[in-house]
């Protein structure tokens, strides 16, 4: 095998990885969008679709992991290639977790259908819609690798996390005042917690993309003015 052939094989493998990561991002973005739509409209059929489609996310997760392992073992990547493959592993993991959370939201929709007004009053619907926008930005960032999108994601994820904490405090107050809402309030609290985790994983993904772009590790650093 000539050197040129060797690198053509490498480039093909890299192309395949990029394609799979984009597909994963798209799939997870769709899962989140559908889970939130099902939550807002109490659409149990759509919620069920989200649950059923999770196996596609899991399957792709394993395929991406295996491809990264293969490239590490056979191609010994360096520089930008190395950073991209390291980040793909992390992004893949974060996307898979986001996919799981979309499923967890979908599984709880049934129990919340009779209390949509309560959810709205608490501000859950607003945060859920912000999560859909955040998920769209994450998908775009993975596609375009534009650092400005990462900055937006850091900022919006922070806002979402703050809102989630405020909603949780309100829920606790409600539970203390009316014991009969404990069951439903706990379910809403879990949903809020899942939304907050999706925001946190989105931040991780933005950090990984910045690492691909310029090799700087930005995690655990203050990113937005608080």
């Amino acid at each position: 095998m000539t050197e040129m052939e060797k690198y053509r094989i490498f480039d093909n493998e890299l192309e395949k990885l990029i394609e799979r990561v984009l597909k994963m991002s798209n799939l997870v973005h769709e899962q989140v969008g559908n889970a939130i739509l099902a939550l807002n409209n109490c659409d149990l059929e759509l919620a069920n679709n989200v649950i059923e489609n999770d196996h596609k996310v899991d399957k792709l997760d394993v395929k991406i992991d295996k491809l990264c392992q293969k490239i590490f073992a056979l191609q010994q990547p360096v520089a930008t290639d190395l950073r991209y493959i390291i980040s793909s592993l992390k992004i893949n993991n974060d996307l898979e977790r986001i996919g799981d959370h979309a499923v967890n939201i979908a599984k709880r929709i049934d129990s919340l259908c009779d209390y949509t007004n309560f959810s709205k009053e608490l501000g859950v619907t607003e945060v859920a819609n912000q999560i859909v926008m955040l998920s769209k930005d994450v998908d775009q960032l993975i596609k375009t690798q534009q650092p400005i999108l990462a900055t937006d994601i850091f900022k919006n994820a922070r806002i979402i996390k703050d809102s989630c904490h405020k909603i949780s405090e309100k829920i606790i107050e409600e539970m203390m005042q009316q014991k009969e809402v404990i069951v439903i309030a706990t379910n809403i609290m879990i949903i809020v917690n899942l939304l907050e985790r999706i925001a946190a994983y989105s931040t991780n993904i933005a950090e990984s993309i910045l690492f691909v772009i310029d090799g700087k590790i930005v995690k655990h650093k203050k990113k937005t003015e608080e």
Binding site: E3, F10, D11, Q76, P77, V78, A79, T80, L82, D214
Partner: protein, 252 residues
């Protein structure tokens, strides 16, 4: 702060009218391994050979600029080239033991330097072979021919021969390119242990080897030093696109 062992300033080298090195300025730190990488013909071996004046053997070579080792210009008229090459030893791509016994190969340099005391020679031979990580393999057959050793053993014997004259710098020109993976790994481990006592400059075409063994990496292209820095930086996030293209195999 790291101390600088080798320092070149605005160095140019011509083979006749052909420029082989173009304004190379570099500071090579003491007790570190510095890898020189770049495509064939980029000047890395020429640069390596300039550091112990091996290029003097070629009539058409003309060198300008300064090459300082420990602050002394090695191209000054009063420099004794034999002493320089004792201080700056060299290991080549192809192992080149003398057609003599293992013992005599290592003792050779000391003998021509006037050391004939048997005990002293024994000590030099044992120490050098130990430092070159080959003593255990040859201690029972020191008087057998060196040519009976395997390729990897011959290369470590040549390193022992270099060590026997107490150098401060060791230049290595693709020392493991002709060896199998096990011998290569022994040479790489050896390079790692030798840097405690010596300053090592190694030319290699094997990117993974440069990444594994060196602390600093210099990338040469068309006679110019394109990028020089910490190996971990060069291999994860190089500053220059040319460096990135070369180390990731997308060159030309």
């Amino acid at each position: 702060m790291k101390s600088i062992k080798i320092h070149t300033e605005n160095m140019y080298l011509h083979y006749g009218s052909k420029m082989a090195l173009n304004n190379v300025s570099i500071e090579i730190p003491e007790n570190k391994v510095t890898a020189l990488i770049g495509p064939s013909g980029c000047g890395k071996s020429t640069f390596l050979r300039s550091l112990n004046r091996m290029n003097d053997l070629i009539d058409t070579v003309k060198i300008e600029g300064n090459i300082l080792i420990d602050g002394i210009n090695i191209y000054d008229k009063n420099i004794d080239v034999v002493n320089l090459r004792k201080k700056v030893g060299m290991v080549f791509q192809k192992s080149n033991p003398f057609a003599k016994s293992i013992y005599e190969n290592v003792a050779y340099g000391s003998r021509i330097n006037g050391i004939n005391n048997k005990n002293e020679l024994n000590e030099i031979v044992e120490n050098s072979l130990c430092n070159a990580a080959i003593w255990d393999e040859v201690k029972d057959r020191l008087h057998d021919s060196a040519l009976g050793l395997s390729g990897g053993q011959q290369q470590r014997l040549c390193i022992a021969r270099t060590l026997a004259v107490n150098p401060e710098v060791i230049l290595m020109d693709e020392p493991a390119s002709a060896l199998d993976p096990i011998s290569t790994s022994k040479i790489e481990e050896l390079i790692h242990s030798l840097k405690e006592k010596f300053t090592i400059v190694i030319v290699t075409h094997n990117m993974q080897q440069a990444a594994r063994v060196s602390d600093e990496t210099a990338f040469f292209y068309l006679g110019e030093l394109i990028e020089y820095g910490k190996t971990k930086k060069i291999f994860t996030n190089p500053d220059k696109k040319q460096t990135e293209d070369y180390i990731s195999g997308r060159f030309g």
